[in-house]
């Protein structure tokens, strides 16, 4: 049963990713991307990461993609749609992507899951997922958390500065 569910989600994710890359109109690309993010959130649910699934839907699908959609609709794309989609020599680029898959395959051959950490499914279930994640995040990873907040502040200031009109 779980395998069938995984098969559906994986097939949908791959198909939607190809559609994102291949569709001519950027609005369609963004909408396919939205659907793909929802399926990725389903994969996270399959992996017992319900907090991350919610974050994926809220932040990626709710915030980032709406921002993308805003920008796509703000810009005038009538001429962009008519020109050729792919650059020349896309065979070489496809070979590059296939090469990455090949390297991954060779790398995964020798891979074994090593030691197991303290957070088994039962432990996470006892503490609830959000609480377990918060415990690790706010003790072990408190410095990266603060750095991430600083990064977001810099991003806000940078985005406002870049997109304002030049004052002369």
């Amino acid at each position: 049963m779980v395998e069938w569910f995984f098969g559906y989600l994986a097939g949908a994710v791959i198909l939607l990713a190809i559609l994102v890359v291949a569709s001519r109109n950027p609005v369609h690309s963004v909408l396919w991307m939205l659907l793909m993010f929802l399926h990725v959130a389903g994969l996270y649910l399959l992996l017992n990461a319900e907090f991350l699934a919610a974050t994926q839907v809220i932040v990626y699908a709710g915030a980032i993609l709406v921002l993308f959609l805003f920008v796509v609709m703000l810009l005038n794309l009538r001429e962009e749609i008519k020109i050729r989609r792919f650059t020349g020599g896309w065979l070489f680029k496809g070979l590059t992507a296939l090469g990455i898959i090949y390297v991954l395959r060779r790398g995964l051959e020798g891979f074994r899951v090593g030691f197991e950490g303290p957070w088994s499914i039962e432990a996470v279930g006892r503490a609830t997922h959000t609480r377990a994640l918060g415990q690790v995040l706010f003790t072990e990873y408190i410095l990266p958390f603060e750095i991430a907040s600083l990064l977001l502040l810099v991003a806000i200031v940078g985005a406002v500065f870049l997109s304002k009109k030049r004052l002369r």
Binding site: V2, F6, V20, G94, I101, V113, P118, I121, G158, L162
Partner: protein, 100 residues
Amino acid sequence: MVPLYWYLWLGGVVFAIGVFGFLARRNIIIMFLSIELMLNGVNISLVALSHYMQDLRGQILVFFIIAVAAAEAAIGLAIIIAMFRNRDTLHADEMAEMKG
């Protein structure tokens, strides 16, 4: 039980599609979407490894990746708007001003 390899394969394939899109498309918005695709491929692998190794660190990393992706999207789209205002195009080949 789904084996771990399937998830790692899925992450790798999504990453490779993202690489192909970034290299082959010339529309800047689609190139940006390809970067998000690559990040998602990595995220799938990280969550799967975190689940199968029974350690929450992978999910913490995914959390930070989502935060960084949000910052990157904000800055990148601001740059796209600034470029479009100056050049009136979204084609990456048209923006070769700094090339000698």
